[in-house]
């Protein structure tokens, strides 16, 4: 076996220029996949963390009835004794904090113009403790101290559509729990830029206490749980589920991935693009390698004839060609992984930026993650493509007529 492997290895370097060309092609394919895959991974990671830290949190707790709610009266299905629930959640490991929220809808007006909004009522101190970042175009965050004028943050799009700025007053209208329309005057203390135009066009945020007064209820719609690390989401969700069953009101836990619709759509789209690229690389390597390996076979016709004449089993000839192709694939994959990582590191240090993706307003960093599973996957892809590419030339070589092969010029 050792000699056979040695023969295959030496055959690979018999025509160095051709082998280098093949290695260049295979390595280029792997490096390309690593760069694209590494960039997509960075994008997924960035989008995931941005989604979580923009307020989604790692876990959210709802009443079981929440998903059958009447959107005009969201607190009808809210969590009753949310303070006890929050306390129960906080005693678990990996939990950084719990923030109560009321997600509600209504109208906002400055007297001249009005618009619908998607409101979010928060406890600013709890939000800050979770590190949920709010990006201000102007102004400041909500004041967590009670009393005084009701403060509000609105999105850049909404501010533009109703033509208001920091310091202006607005009237917020929403439906109370018993079905009456209620209103509250608020003062704009900050204009928020979430980076997603559709959200900024409807964004309004007030304090939890203000919203509970407006909606005339002590309930909240959900509790947002922040963890120390996204990787702990599954573990904490599993630990939390039995504790929540102790409460009389049926509660459900949703993991961030279940709520991050946009993230899932982006990931699905780019994963499909990446698979498509992988298929292209697979066929590119396959087709060009078949040609190269056929040339190799023709050049070695007499040698193969000699080996067959000496009683070499035909299966050995097939194995020899496949082994040579696998060696080329492996060397190409190693070169590709090295080149891909090197190029990735250079890109990461270059400080390159890309234009904002669709729906976003900010340019994004061009960074490439070094993902071990991607390196293994891309390497296996090219090794398998080369092994498959060698089957046809290998079988052809093994079926040569010995007498004809020996007289081949």
């Amino acid at each position: 076996m050792g000699k056979f492997l040695l023969l295959a290895f030496r055959n690979v370097f018999r025509n160095r220029r051709r082998t280098m060309m093949t290695l260049f092609m295979v390595g280029g394919g792997v490096a390309g996949l690593l760069l694209v895959g590494g960039f997509f991974s960075f994008m997924f990671w960035g989008l995931r963390e941005h989604t979580i830290n923009s307020g989604l949190g790692h876990l959210q707790i709802f009443s079981a009835e929440h998903f059958n709610r009447d959107e005009a009266r969201v607190l009808d299905t809210g969590i009753d004794n949310w303070r006890q629930v929050a306390a129960s959640v906080k005693i678990g490991g990996h939990v950084r904090g719990v923030a109560p929220r009321i997600e509600f809808y209504g109208m906002v007006s400055n007297g001249d113009k009005s618009s619908v909004f998607m409101g979010s009522a928060v406890d600013p101190a709890a939000e800050n403790s979770l590190g949920f970042s709010t990006r201000f175009a102007s102004g400041r965050d909500l004041d967590s101290k009670p009393g005084g004028e009701v403060e509000a943050l609105i999105g850049t799009g909404l501010a533009k559509s109703i033509n208001v700025k920091v310091g202006d007053g607005l009237t917020v209208l929403a439906m109370t729990s018993d079905g009456a329309l209620n209103g509250v005057d608020v003062q704009i203390v900050g204009i928020v830029n979430n980076g997603i135009a559709e959200i900024d066009a409807r964004y309004l945020r007030i304090t939890l206490a203000s919203a509970q007064r407006l909606l005339q209820s002590d309930r909240v719609t959900n509790l947002v749980v922040g963890l120390d690390n996204t990787e702990n989401t599954e573990k904490v969700a599993a630990e939390l589920a039995p504790r929540l069953r102790n409460f009389q009101q049926p509660l459900v836990i949703k993991k961030w991935i279940e709520l991050a619709t946009y993230y899932k759509q982006v990931r699905s789209l780019f994963s499909t693009v990446f698979v498509f690229l992988g298929v292209i690389v697979f066929f590119m390597v396959l087709m060009s390698s078949v040609n190269t390996l056929l040339m190799t076979m023709f050049e070695r016709t007499r040698e193969i004839g000699t080996m067959l004449a000496m009683g070499t089993p035909r299966a050995w000839i097939v194995a020899l060609f496949m082994l040579e192709a696998t060696i080329i694939g492996t060397l190409g994959a190693i070169a590709g992984v090295a080149a891909g990582n090197l190029l990735g590191t250079l890109v990461n240090h270059s400080g390159l930026h890309l234009p904002p993706p669709p729906g976003f307003t900010d340019a994004m960093n061009f960074r490439v993650l070094h993902v071990p599973s991607l390196m293994i996957g891309s390497s296996l892809l090219v090794i398998v493509s080369l092994a498959l590419a060698s089957i046809f030339p290998a079988i052809r070589a093994s079926r040569l007529k010995i007498a004809e092969a020996l007289s081949h010029v």
């Binding site: 000699k3 056979f4 040695l6 023969l7 030496r10 055959n11 018999r14 007499r302 040698e303 004839g305 000699t306 080996m307 067959l308 004449a309 000496m310 009683g311 070499t312 089993p313 035909r314 050995w316 007529k401 010995i402 007498a403 020996l406 007289s407």
Partner: protein, 242 residues
């Protein structure tokens, strides 16, 4: 003496390239017609004749790397016409050694590795392989060149490596197709003497083809072919057999 080769009225014809559609009456060309010969163990036999006389065809048939269109060939008592491809391959592996006109050494192997190859195919273990390779290279006088690759050897040395490769597994029969065609007279004579010496010392049966009349002086039995037919079977010691 034990019979190693028995060729019984063997013919071999080849289809013409342009096929029977164009020339239905001349769709095949006959390379060998009703050839018969018997070779006993330990013989040193030359097949001679001009180019195109059927020497290579006959050697290919005896070597089981081609099959006759008529007749049958027995190697060491085995009827090769009844063998499957795998059995034919096994027969070649175990009972036949080949020396080719163009040496046909594996260029990426050293001389020793080339000689080792038939043993590798037979599954002989490493230490036994090394011992037999050393013996074979010594018997052809190339121990000092064992680690050289073929491209660093002269033509005569390459052919001696090929001879060592052909005898390393102690085959019942060594076939050499024009082994001296690419050698000068000095090297050619040396090679024939080497093969003859191995024939005498090891008792190996040698059949080689040549069209060089000078080399035939070193041979005990000469079979002459002309236009695919055996025209004479002449023994320098025992007289004519054909």
């Amino acid at each position: 003496m034990e019979e190693i080769v028995n060729v019984e009225t063997v013919s071999r014809s080849f289809p013409l390239d342009d096929g029977p559609a164009r020339h239905p009456a001349h769709s095949f060309v006959s390379a060998l017609t009703n050839a018969s010969l018997r070779v006993t163990a330990g013989e040193f036999l030359a097949i001679s004749g001009p180019s195109g006389s059927g020497k290579t065809t006959l050697l290919n048939l005896i070597g089981c790397i081609d099959q006759p269109t008529a007749g049958r060939i027995l190697i060491d008592g085995v009827d090769t016409s009844k063998l499957q491809l795998a059995s034919m391959s096994k027969l070649r592996r175990e009972k036949i050694g080949f020396v080719f006109q163009t040496f046909n050494l594996i260029p990426v192997f050293t001389a020793a590795e080339n000689v080792e190859y038939p043993l590798l195919v037979q599954g002989v273990n490493g230490s036994e392989r090394r011992r037999r390779v050393a013996e074979a290279l010594e018997s052809v006088g190339l121990s000092a060149r064992a680690q050289q690759r073929p491209d660093l050897l002269s033509g005569g040395e390459r052919q001696r490596v090929a001879v060592a490769r052909a005898i390393v597994h102690r085959p019942a029969l060594v076939l050499a197709d024009e082994p001296t065609a690419n050698l000068d007279t000095h090297n050619a004579t040396q090679l024939i003497d080497l093969m003859h010496g191995l024939n005498r010392e090891l008792g190996l049966t040698f059949i080689f083809s040549t069209h060089d009349a000078r080399l035939l002086e070193h041979t005990e039995r000469i079979i002459r072919l002309c236009d695919g037919e055996v025209v004479s079977d002449h023994s320098t010691e025992g007289g004519s057999r054909g």
